[in-house]
């Protein structure tokens, strides 16, 4: 099966197919001269707790739509950037990749910025939750209310992307 540019998967993540996807030549698009990647891993510590493993849960059809929305937002801000995002769900152990992003662009600055923007937005609006199992207990990690129309949140992601 061909690599999807936005996907929620249950298998081990590999960033290489995403890099290939965003760097492949397209007749109508400018050539890609830079690919920035981000891979998020399961940490062994969280707020002083020794983490054992995480269970990721998603509202899958909506999560895919959120990833597609993030690709659209990125395309709106950086028209020459091509973005691929895969998020893994299910049980992940320490050191395993939970999210992989590749951003291809004619030049590096836009690739880095779009990649950073994408991960910030994933954390804000993708309906994906993690259940942390640590030494001595377990807890659902709850951050902030997911709202794609929250303008300050989006501006915050943009600010982090462009520093």
């Amino acid at each position: 099966m061909s690599v999807q540019p936005a996907a929620v998967v249950r298998t081990v993540l590999d960033v290489a197919p995403l890099v290939a996807l965003v760097s492949a030549a397209e007749p109508a698009a400018p050539g890609v001269g830079a690919v920035a990647t981000f891979v998020g891993l399961v940490r062994d510590q969280n707020v002083g707790r020794r983490v054992l493993y995480l269970d990721y849960e998603a509202y899958e059809p909506m999560a895919v739509k959120a990833l597609e929305r993030i690709r659209d937002e990125t395309a709106g801000r950086w028209p020459d950037v091509r973005l691929a995002i895969h998020h893994r769900i299910g049980r992940l152990h320490i050191g395993e990749a939970s999210v992989a992003i590749a951003a291809g662009s004619p030049h590096r600055a836009e690739a880095f910025a779009a990649c950073r923007y994408a991960i910030e937005r994933i954390k804000q609006i993708a309906p994906i939750w993690k259940h942390e199992y640590f030494e001595g207990g377990d807890v659902w990690i709850e951050g902030a209310t997911a709202d794609p129309d929250d303008v300050p949140a989006r501006e915050d992601a943009m600010r982090r992307a462009c520093v």
Binding site: K123, G143, A146
Partner: protein, 86 residues
């Protein structure tokens, strides 16, 4: 009318189910579905100000009208969110 309710993360744990079928009077908003749910599971009440909602996998508001056969989802805060560090 009948709607499907989808629950995730802690809300799913509270209800001990990720999918419920509920009858609500017409016309109804997502807020009405939520209030019924809170009556059934009082522990969910504290999520009232922090959840997001969706109808048929599209973000919606508590004031959004639901219709027969809709899938209404209640989404607890996600792991990131504004101001949180990765």
């Amino acid at each position: 009318m009948r709607v499907t309710v989808r629950l995730f993360a802690r809300l799913r744990d509270i209800a001990r189910a990720g999918e419920l079928t509920r009858d609500v009077p017409e016309p109804a908003t997502i807020g009405v579905v939520w209030q019924d749910l809170v009556r059934e599971y009082p522990e969910m009440a504290r999520y009232g100000s922090s959840i997001s909602t969706a109808v048929n996998a599209e973000y919606a508001r508590m004031t959004t009208t639901v219709t027969e056969g809709d899938e209404v989802a209640f989404l607890p805060p996600v792991s990131g969110g504004r101001g949180q560090q990765v």
